[in-house]
């Protein structure tokens, strides 16, 4: 079986977001990077499915040169190889990202056969467009189920549990399919040292798609004004307990 997972490099923002001078991006000078949390679960699921069913797995990303780090992270978890859609670091909108991914997926499938499942995160941590996986599925003419917390193969179909307000809705769709997943689908493994070593020599092919003018065009970013919270100290240590209980009483929850 063939499985792929699509991921996005995002900064680890920590406690306070600082913007660049032109306010068009996050100032990442002092930040580390990771793949979006939902996608990490997509990668883990891809690795588990290949471990259980044999076959090969591919991780794709569209991003700057440095995004190869996130491809290596995915390969350290067990993915076999990577495809890097390399950009100059400018923002790509969801529509353009999906188009470039579809081209790369079609090219890979022409050489190696169809992916049974393509995993996406339900939405990226940064731009949160909620659309790339769905657009790719539509372009490839495949079924797409979103927001998944559980995925089970059933022969030539896949059973999917989607998180809804009260419980989960179940979908059963035929393969090949595109599945967008949420954190909580699984608990991603911690990459082992041998896994990291192996990842260094796994193949990554690079393509450089041309960026079309975005139709959803970022103009600027802003940090929203605080909610007017001004912390009132109730004291230190165990001695603060009476003040806390008084607060709970006033709030009507005790």
């Amino acid at each position: 079986m063939r499985i792929s997972a699509c991921i996005k490099r995002v900064p680890i923002t920590g406690g306070r977001i600082l913007l660049t001078e032109d306010a068009r991006a996050i100032n990442t000078q002092h930040l580390g990077f990771t793949m979006s949390p939902h996608e990490e679960c997509g990668v883990e699921e891809a690795v588990r499915l290949i471990e259980a069913n044999k076959g090969d797995s591919v991780v794709l990303t569209l991003g700057p040169r440095e995004a190869v780090e996130q491809l290596r992270d995915a390969m350290a978890l067990g993915v076999d190889r990577g495809i890097h859609l390399q950009t100059d670091g400018r923002e790509w909108d969801g529509e353009a990202t999906a188009t470039a991914l579809v081209d790369a997926i079609r090219a890979d499938e022409a050489d190696h056969g169809r992916f049974d499942i393509i995993f996406f995160g339900n939405e990226s941590a940064d731009s949160g467009g909620f659309q790339v996986g769905i657009r790719v599925a539509y372009a490839l003419g495949r079924a797409c189920v979103t927001g998944l917390k559980k995925v089970t193969l059933q022969g030539a179909s896949v059973r999917c549990e989607q998180e809804v307000e009260a419980g989960r809705d179940v979908y059963v769709v035929p393969l090949p399919a595109v599945l967008t997943v949420k954190e909580g689908l699984n608990l991603p493994r911690y990459p082992s040292v041998p896994g990291r070593m192996r990842a260094r020599s796994k193949p990554v092919s690079v393509v450089t798609p041309i960026r079309p003018d975005p139709r959803l065009e970022l103009v600027s970013l802003a940090v929203p004004a605080g909610q007017g919270r001004r912390a009132e100290s109730l004291g230190s240590g165990a001695a603060a307990a009476p003040a806390v209980v008084e607060l709970l009483r006033k709030a009507g929850v005790l």
Partner: protein, 290 residues
Amino acid sequence: MSVLILTDGSDASRQALTLARRFGDPVHAVHMDAVAPFAPDSLAAILQQVADELNAAAVFAAGTDRGNEVMARLAARAGLPLAANCVAVTPGAPAALTRLRWGGSLLEEARLHSPRPLITVAPHTVSIEEGPEPIDVDVARFVEELDERDLLVRASDHVAPQDGGVSLTTAKVIVSGGRGVGSKEGFAIIEELAGLLGAAVGCSRAVTSAGWRPHSDQVGQTGTKVAPEVYIACGISGATQHMAGLKGAKRILAINSDPQAPLMLNADYTVTGDLKEVVPAITAEIRKRT
């Protein structure tokens, strides 16, 4: 020119309606339950046909899971861009809009270049304005003509939520623990206080990643978004990932040994100190008084 909205009758949908009215008049509505059980491609197919027939100036929906999903499917099949989770929009060519990034930790000003703007409106971000009610579209004709392919993805069963514990989404009080709790066993004092308050137990992403609590307890951008009367954050640093889940909390009490932790600076009330001393002291104080 008319405008089309996908609605489920919720406040989030009425917020979307408030912004939709700025794009034209009248507003026509397709209901989320037009196809039951839920089949998102079918709804997208119906929206596309109705929008074409009405020559709708724009299509709106609430930025809920389902609203975003159906609108993304509409965008894909219509070959149009989609702006998800907007908080403000101004019609024009291009349309100008403000949307949420990072689960609401950042605002993005953007231009949407599209002959038919597709927009979802972030829940709880817009004040509902009264105005003419939308006209319900008679969808029977479209439902009859649905293509089989658009019914392939269809909810066929439902799994009820597990256990009878206090739900994070509806809890009036949440006692939540972060990395500072130190271990899986460390949550015993959190659970004890929560039990006494009839509160739900929450946690940060660091805790679920460490395997100390199930992901269903996680509060934050990729966990549950909560709206309690009181949120008690114990040993949580307050990364943006966590704060994105707290926007609906009325009062935040932070307990942390580091007074400079972001959550201590963004809380309403703080207690500086080791949660392993403070939390049991609060529990004992409540017991003493009752």
